[in-house]
């Protein structure tokens, strides 16, 4: 559980293979007794994930949403909640919800509806959030995943309780926040009607940015099926993979497009009733999910073991990255009453079987199916996870082997030199100039002996950086391997003739000099001589006259 690294679980914005980093030092200071204590308890973990949908416009109005825009530049009467404005549902939201519901193996509600969830907060312009309460669009699904090999591997299936549609809230900006200087808090573009998007409270100027208000979200609630930080982090990472495969969200955690709140409770092993549940927020990466949960499990186990189990209270805790701790954010005094009731401004959401079927047919191959397919192709789990991690990588791989390339060779090229190049250049696979069909051609050219593996590598880097065709490059640079024995023989003769002293030494027993001769011959062939043939002829000649 406390290993140093989880290998690529997903990819962040830069499309670099992401890593769940767990510093080995983090937990080493903890005593062995603590490990022993935690062994006596079982953790119950459930996750609520908010996925921000990448629709062109918001859920209920025509405003676009772009992360990082100047505050209040993407707002209109509807998402500002001005009097008289009404929501009209963006049909893409339904489409995306159905896609995700199907991908998570859920049962879809053909008749669902929207409800209002009511509470006051300055980032919530209408005083209620349009959400789904008692009839979510999708329920009772599951998500399959494979744990990384470094963590012992293994297949897991985690239950999905529900998926529902809702709208995002705005953001509060504190005047002291560095990111939001005076300069970019101005443009409350609707001018006079916005008498104040500012509040004076707590002695600080608090400002509201409504750009994000009304952006569509899908909330995914898992069953409490996870038992440790790694499982939870891998669940979140698989959710990210699925939404990216589906193209419904960029799944970027740093920008808040994928937000996870986890619920953790523990109970002595063997006990059937659940312990008191604690919610953890502010988890901005998979590794923080992992570490926050493991921290929380230990905290709760320690309290239990010291007879202070009653100090575990139902509350929301915040993960502090700096101190690597969870701290109390707010205690929950009973359940908040959100006074849900059906949203009267929106008609019921009715799905037809035909619509659902058409979405079903349009679904891409999902990560789990892909992994099983790759596995059947004979790839190792390490390779499978790497290739299926990123939809673009897997599509590149699929396209390469579709051109007839050898599966294992294609895997090696992609995971080896291509991945290294991408990492060094900070490029994603869709940004490199190499086309899958050229990789296939390259592999075929080496396999057929047209070029040597060494030349192949050189061509690869040229293709990665500049693009072009393998055949063209071979021709243009005259890189075709020399496979004509008589041509190679000439070169061998020439080298032997020019190095009589070394030849004598060789024949005198210094056979290590074979490498020297081979190098010289390769040099005059400009690297094009077929190495096998070269060595064969060289040996014959070296040994013939002895």
């Amino acid at each position: 559980m406390k290993n140093s690294q989880i290998q690529p679980a997903t990819q962040e914005k830069q499309q670099q293979p992401p890593q769940i980093k767990v510093s080995p030092q983090t937990h080493q200071t903890k005593t062995k007794t603590l490990d022993k204590i935690t062994q006596d308890y079982e953790a119950i973990i459930g996750i609520e994930t908010h996925v921000q949908l990448s629709t062109l416009t918001k859920a209920f109005c025509g405003c676009p949403y772009n992360y990082g825009s100047q505050p209040n530049t993407s707002i209109c009467p509807i998402c500002m909640g001005l009097p008289g404005a009404l929501p009209v549902l963006n049909s893409k939201v339904i489409e995306f919800a159905v896609k995700l519901g199907l991908a998570l193996n859920c049962k879809l509600s053909l008749n669902s509806k929207f409800d209002r969830k009511q509470y006051f907060y300055p980032d919530l312009p209408k005083g209620y959030q349009i959400s789904q309460f008692d009839i979510p669009i999708a329920t009772s699904g599951y998500l399959d995943l494979d744990l990384p090999v470094e963590f012992g591997g293994g297949h897991r299936r985690f239950g999905i309780t529900r998926v529902h549609m809702e709208e995002d809230a705005g953001k509060l900006l504190h005047s002291g926040d560095g990111d939001y200087s005076q300069e970019n808090t101005i443009p409350l573009t609707l001018g006079s009607l916005l008498m104040a998007a500012c509040l004076l409270c707590f002695g600080n100027l608090l400002q509201v940015d409504l750009n994000r208000a009304g952006v569509p979200l899908l909330e995914i609630v898992s069953e409490p099926d996870m038992r440790n930080g790694i499982e939870a982090a891998e669940y979140a990472s698989e959710v990210q993979r699925v939404v990216r495969y589906l193209g419904v969200s960029n799944g970027n955690m740093q920008e808040g497009s994928l937000r996870c709140d986890v619920n953790v409770s523990i109970r002595p092993i063997g006990q059937s009733e659940f312990g008191t549940k604690v919610e953890i927020k502010n988890l901005n990466s998979f590794s923080s999910i992992n570490r926050a949960i493991d921290f929380e499990i230990e905290r709760q186990a320690l309290l239990h073991s010291q007879g202070q189990g009653d100090q575990i209270v139902q509350e929301t805790r915040l993960w502090e990255e700096g101190s690597q701790k969870t701290v109390t954010m707010r205690k929950k005094e009973g359940l908040s009453d959100y006074r849900y009731f059906p949203e009267p401004d929106l008609p019921e959401v009715i799905l037809t079987e035909e619509f659902v079927d058409s979405i079903h047919r349009s679904l891409p191959e999902l990560p789990e199916v892909k992994r099983r397919r790759y596995e059947k192709m004979g790839l190792s789990m390490q390779d499978v996870l790497f290739l299926a991690n990123d939809i673009n990588v897997s599509q590149f791989f699929d396209a390469t082997i579709a051109m007839g390339a050898d599966v294992k060779l294609a895997t090696n090229w992609i995971m080896g030199d291509i991945a290294a190049y991408m990492k060094n250049e900070k490029l994603s696979i869709s940004e490199i100039k190499l086309a899958p069909e050229e990789l296939a051609e390259l592999i075929a050219s080496i396999k057929s002996g047209t070029i040597s593996g060494k030349i192949g590598k050189e061509i690869l880097f040229e293709l990665l950086a500049k693009g072009g065709m393998v055949k063209g490059l071979i021709k243009e640079k005259d890189l075709v391997q020399i496979v004509d024995p008589s041509e190679i023989e000439k070169m061998v003769d020439k080298v032997l003739l020019e190095n009589p002293k070394q030849l004598e030494q060789y024949r005198g027993g210094k056979t290590k000099l074979q490498g020297y001769f081979a190098g010289q011959i390769m040099k005059i062939s400009k690297g094009k001589a077929n190495p096998g043939l070269l060595n064969k002829i060289l040996l014959e000649k070296l040994n013939a006259k002895s």
Partner: protein
């Protein structure tokens, strides 16, 4: 225009209407739209469509749009200090009329509502013009957009004359719950005009404008129409876009029309009806040409409504309805029979349940809809050093007592543990009411009832008795719960005031069958004898 209007020294009505009054002597009231009619009608002749006569007058170059606008504005200026039907009067009316005259001069096409002055209830958004819903919480608020209904009538040439007074957010039946002023009934200035669209009803009744828009959540167009002796039309839910109508109870709210004739209310409805992509609850049904119903009386046979099945709702003539109202409605029944209708009594057993169900549902929805008035983005923000105090203080200062009471009731009704007993149960009652109406309307073409259990009452009379005021909504709330269209039009008078008080008849139709209501209403109105349609004081003044 507004400022001068409001800075006039108060005048007594007698002085105001006296011919010796120097301020109005020079003003010829003959140039008001009645001049447009072919014959100058007496106050008891059948009302004619002002919209059609304006159109005729403009196209025949009898009168200019500017002259028309001036005549209305003059009357508005003189009557307003007594009526207080407007919260804001537009400064652009004459400019818009002039520009219309230029278009007419250039023989350009003009819309059906060209030159028609329209009063707009203050909870309907008008771009860059104050729109407060009668509430302090929105004092000085100017929306950045026009409500769809406003946009549509403007496109047909209608001119916004101003914003009419109302009970705060539509919550009230007298217009006394306005945060700004109390509107008087043009038939008797000591009485209320009804509500919540009291300003819109009074303005049409006093001919301060040609037609007006109101909103009807539980009767807020129909009851003031009855009190002020004008025609009030509540369309089917979904017929008119609610975009730009400040929500009170979203599942019940509709924008409705006031006119001094059935034809005018119908023409205005034609202008504003139809699907709107900005309102997901607006219907995609095609809008029929309502104006085709308004045939001339000369073309009518002796029994023009022969075979029409009319059901009188028994429960609406129960105890609690004034005798004068009952006899006026029974007079209307005789009149309908004379026109050839087959009358029968129908029972809607769920009818009495409508009132409690309405107040639960409307309050619940309003508690949610009014959450946005939190002082954060517009309106008056209280100074507070803590967030909850900021909300509490802004809302405490911004809302009046009636609104606060309904928010509290609604919050209670939606609270965990009470939801099933209140909101959910009220929804079940609503379903029952819809079924009852469906059955009754399968057997009848239209249903009729009084529009209100009494005629206009005195200002202040029910101010401290909210339950009595709520009880007055019994005739109308069921129609909103069922989402049906209903037309209220004058059918008689009861004693009261100097010249009697108008009584309205309510006709209820099947969903989206406004056409039938308008046809029946038009024939009823055109054949009604001895009913005055213009408040005598206004008529007197016009006759001078």
């Amino acid at each position: 225009m507004v400022s001068t209007l409001h800075h006039h020294p108060p005048r007594s009505l007698s002085r105001f209407f006296s011919s010796s009054s120097t301020t109005i002597k020079s003003r010829s009231f003959h140039s008001k739209p009645i001049l447009c009619s072919d014959q100058s009608p007496s106050s008891t002749s059948s009302p004619q469509s002002q919209i059609l006569s304006i159109r005729h007058s403009l196209l025949s170059r009898h009168v200019t749009a500017t002259q028309l606008a001036e005549s209305y504005l003059t009357r508005l200026k003189l009557t307003e200090p007594h009526l207080k039907s407007f919260l804001h009067v537009s400064e652009h009316v004459l400019k818009q009329a002039e520009s219309l005259d230029h278009r007419i001069d250039r023989n350009e096409n003009i819309g059906l509502l060209a030159g028609v002055l329209v009063g707009v209830k203050d909870n309907i958004c008008t771009m860059d013009m104050p729109s407060t819903a009668g509430s302090r919480v929105l004092e000085n608020y100017r929306p950045p957009f026009d409500a769809t209904a406003v946009k549509r009538f403007k496109e047909l040439g209608g001119i916004v004359v101003g914003k009419t007074n109302m009970d705060e957010f539509g919550m009230g039946s007298t217009t006394e719950a306005s945060a700004f002023q109390v509107t008087a009934n043009p038939w008797d200035l000591s009485r209320v005009p009804g509500g919540s669209s009291g300003g819109s009803a009074a303005a049409v009744s006093a001919r301060q404008c040609v037609v007006s828009l109101g909103s009807d959540t539980g009767g807020s167009v129909r009851q003031p129409a009855s009190f002020c002796g004008v025609v009030g039309l509540k369309p089917t839910y979904g017929r008119v876009s609610r975009y730009g109508l400040m929500a009170y109870a979203s599942s019940l709210d509709v924008i409705g029309c006031f006119g001094s004739s059935v034809a005018d209310a119908g023409i205005l409805l034609s202008a504003i009806s139809g699907h709107d992509r900005l309102d997901a609850t607006s219907s995609k049904r095609e809008v029929p040409d309502f104006t085709s119903q308004f045939i001339s009386t000369e073309l009518l046979g002796s029994k023009p409504l022969k075979g029409l099945r009319v059901g009188l709702i028994r429960e609406t003539l129960d105890n609690g309805v004034d005798n004068g109202i009952k006899s006026a409605v029974l007079g209307a029944v005789s009149h309908l029979e004379e026109l050839g209708c087959t009358l029968s009594e129908v029972s809607l057993p769920s009818f009495p349940l409508g009132l409690p169900a309405y107040y639960i549902l409307a309050s619940s929805e309003s508690s949610s809809n009014l959450s946005r008035y939190d002082g954060v983005r517009y309106g008056n923000q209280a100074t507070a050093d803590e967030l909850n105090a900021l909300y509490g203080d802004s809302r405490a200062k911004g809302f009046g007592p009636e609104v606060k009471m309904r928010i509290l009731m609604g919050t209670y009704g939606l609270s965990a543990g009470y939801y099933d007993a209140y909101y959910k149960r009220a929804q079940q009652v609503r379903t029952l009411i819809q079924k009852n109406f469906k059955t009754a309307l399968d057997e009848n073409d239209i249903l009729i009832s009084p529009a209100a259990p009494s005629a206009a009452y005195k200002i202040g009379e029910k101010k401290n008795d909210p339950l009595a005021m709520y009880a007055g909504d019994i005739m109308t709330v069921n129609v909103n719960l069922a989402g049906l269209p209903a037309l209220v039009l004058p059918c008689g008078f009861v004693e009261g005031g100097a010249a009697g008080l108008p009584v309205g008849l309510q006709m209820i139709g099947a969903a989206f069958d406004e056409e039938k209501l308008l046809k029946v209403g038009h024939i009823f109105e055109q054949t009604l004898q001895g009913c005055r349609f213009i408040p005598p004081l206004i008529a007197d003044c016009d006759a001078q």
